[in-house]
């Protein structure tokens, strides 16, 4: 037998995660369709918002196109968490625990499905948005950075799903998180730029909400140009969520897997 290398373990579990994601259209389709539906409704209904003095772009579609990337990432909380919760419920996690599997390999491998989902989502949202007439002032390099940011956010949010699954061991509990996360999206600068939000308490909440800065990072690439500060904040928040989520999930895994 060869050495139990971490790379092999991650690779095999990543392969499984990707296969599972590809074989569950019910995971992929809602993550693609619902954000596009919301984009269509918002960009149609709020089109005249661009007439507000100081609105940063003349195309509300371009402004709203940032939302699907974050909304889609929320689906990864549900998908990665539900998959792991199902492994716990069915005893598959015990099967894995009986092998020389390392905890880090398990968590990393499980997130591979989120990477795939993030890639497919980003490519779809961007393509649909551009075909519908959205701007992309940073061109092809910007598109690649948008995809990278989208995957980063999707993976980062996925770790929260893993944590929830390991803490609760229940797919239903993980799914109940979805509306909670959705609230974070709605109390951000989702519909208006921060400086145009007139209601004080809402502006303050949106200013404190990290989702606002994820949206601003996407928006900077879509219609503002290369904004290092916005990108640093966006990638930084994704990295922070990833670090916190991965640490919490690792601890929860140790509690869940009490193998000696």
């Amino acid at each position: 037998m060869s050495e139990h290398r971490l790379g092999t373990q991650v690779g095999q579990l990543a392969r499984r995660s990707v296969l599972r994601t590809m074989r569950q259209p019910a995971q992929i389709v809602p993550a693609l369709v619902f954000p596009m539906f919301l984009l269509a409704v918002n960009s149609g209904g709020l089109r005249d918002t661009t007439n507000l003095p100081g609105f940063p772009t003349g195309s509300y579609l371009t402004f709203a196109l940032a939302v699907p990337f974050v909304q889609g990432a929320l689906f990864s909380v549900m998908n990665s968490g539900t998959d792991l919760a199902r492994d716990i419920e069915t005893g598959f996690l015990d099967r894995l625990a009986l092998t020389p599997l390392r905890g880090a390999a398990l968590l990393s491998g499980l997130l591979a499905g989120a990477v795939l989902l993030g890639l497919v989502q980003a490519a779809t949202y961007l393509t649909v948005g551009l075909v519908a007439g959205a701007e992309l002032v940073t061109g092809v390099p910007g598109a690649l950075v948008i995809v990278a940011l989208s995957v980063s956010v999707t993976v980062a949010f996925g770790t929260i799903g893993l944590f929830a699954a390991l803490r609760t061991g229940s797919g239903e509990a993980v799914q109940s998180l979805f509306p909670v996360f959705f609230v974070f999206l709605f109390i951000s600068a989702m519909a208006l730029p921060l400086d145009l939000i007139q209601t004080d308490w809402f502006r303050q909440v949106a200013t404190l909400n990290p989702v606002t800065y994820l949206l601003e990072a996407f928006r900077s690439l879509l219609f503002e140009g290369w904004e290092p500060e916005a990108l640093a904040l966006g990638f930084g928040i994704a990295a922070a969520v990833l670090a916190v989520g991965m640490t919490a999930a690792s601890r929860a895994l140790k509690t869940r897997l009490v193998r000696t």
């Binding site: 092999t8 499984r16 296969l19 599972r20 625990a97 869940r256 000696t260």
Partner: protein
């Protein structure tokens, strides 16, 4: 450090106590010799699965010691896991993966080299009769196919000791017999030590060289099936009256010869305190009471009789209440 019983199991005073719950396993001592099939028999909730979880290192014991394949289950968890294979209760499979993909994942995680993985997977799938279904998703498998795949996965890394937790529960008789055949072959031809939990008497009888009977977390009897039955030594007589109105009178007559025992809903049964020689007396008593009999059967002692003698209850259906207690205890315990 490895002990002399390198392919066996040694358990001393093993205890598992759940938070806010009962002692699921309460001081078990047992030894399983290398190459032996050991049947661990008991009703649902008796502590069988908890014992298996401890011996497979998935659940730390509250007290006591155990060595599996010569390694301490607490101090040498990784070495224990490398030496054992386990098919735990309910075949834990991914319905979205094929049988071949399961084999590939399992062999890779056990560190089997890339070149050997495919051959080993194919060999095991053939052995359990799943080569034709190898590329089908497991979600469409029957219960028997899932159990056979579960067994193949447990054997992926050529373990010296195999834990099978109720491997045939819910299977039809054909699937059950096929699985028994493979387990018997593993022990006989490959020298694999098998620790088999079951609630089926006939399974323990057919497969196990020795049987341990567990009830409420205690080992209440241990020995070969033949020795245990000989220890009880009392056959059971079961009769069905021609007229159902005579059933209570029939039970009263049989009760003169020994305690009532499990019988079909239409009949009554009693364990003959005086052995099979009393059968003639039973017939005479029924005749003198004027009870017409449709069928009369004499059953040799079974493992259920052993369980009844040791616990005061029949094994059949004995575990329903305890199962709820154990499940509740496990649910509140942060494993």
């Amino acid at each position: 450090m490895s002990s002399p019983l390198a392919n066996g199991i040694e358990v001393e005073g093993l205890v598992r106590e759940f938070k806010n719950g009962p002692r699921a396993v309460d001081g078990i001592d047992l030894t399983v010799e290398p190459g032996e099939i050991y049947g661990f028999l008991g009703p649902n909730g008796a502590g069988k699965s908890t014992t298996v979880l401890m011996l497979t290192t998935l659940l730390p014991p509250t007290a006591g010691r155990a060595r599996v394949a010569g390694f301490d289950i607490v101090a040498d968890g990784p070495r224990v896991r490398a030496s054992i294979g386990a098919a735990l209760q309910e075949a834990a499979l991914d319905p979205l993966l094929t049988a071949r993909e399961h084999m590939r994942l399992q062999t890779a995680l056990h560190g089997i080299g890339k070149a050997e993985r495919r051959a080993r997977g194919q060999e095991l799938l053939e052995r359990v009769g799943l080569s034709e279904a190898a590329d089908r998703k497991v979600g469409g498998f029957s219960g028997g196919m899932k159990r056979r795949l579960d067994l193949a996965l447990a054997l992926a890394h050529r373990p010296r000791i195999l834990f099978l937790d109720e491997p045939t529960t819910g299977l039809d008789i054909q699937s059950r017999t096929a699985l028994w055949g493979e387990v018997a072959r593993l022990a006989a031809e490959e020298g694999v030590t098998v620790f088999l939990t079951t609630q089926y008497l006939e399974e323990a009888d057919a497969l196990a060289g020795r049987v341990g009977i567990i009830d409420h977390g205690h080992l209440v009897a241990e020995g070969t099936p033949a020795a245990l039955k000989a220890e009880i030594g009392r056959p059971t007589v079961e009769a069905v009256p021609r007229e159902q109105g005579d059933r209570e009178r029939l039970a009263a007559v049989l009760a003169r010869f020994g305690p009532n025992s499990g019988a079909s809903p239409r009949g009554a049964a009693a364990r003959l305190e005086g052995g099979e020689a009393q059968l003639a007396e039973v017939v005479r008593a029924l005749d003198s009471e004027g009870i017409a009999i449709e069928t009369l059967q004499l059953h040799a002692p079974s493992l259920d009789d052993v369980f009844l003698a040791k616990t005061g209850r029949s094994l059949e259906g004995a575990g329903a209440a305890e199962e709820e207690v154990e499940v509740a205890a496990e649910a509140v315990d942060a494993r």
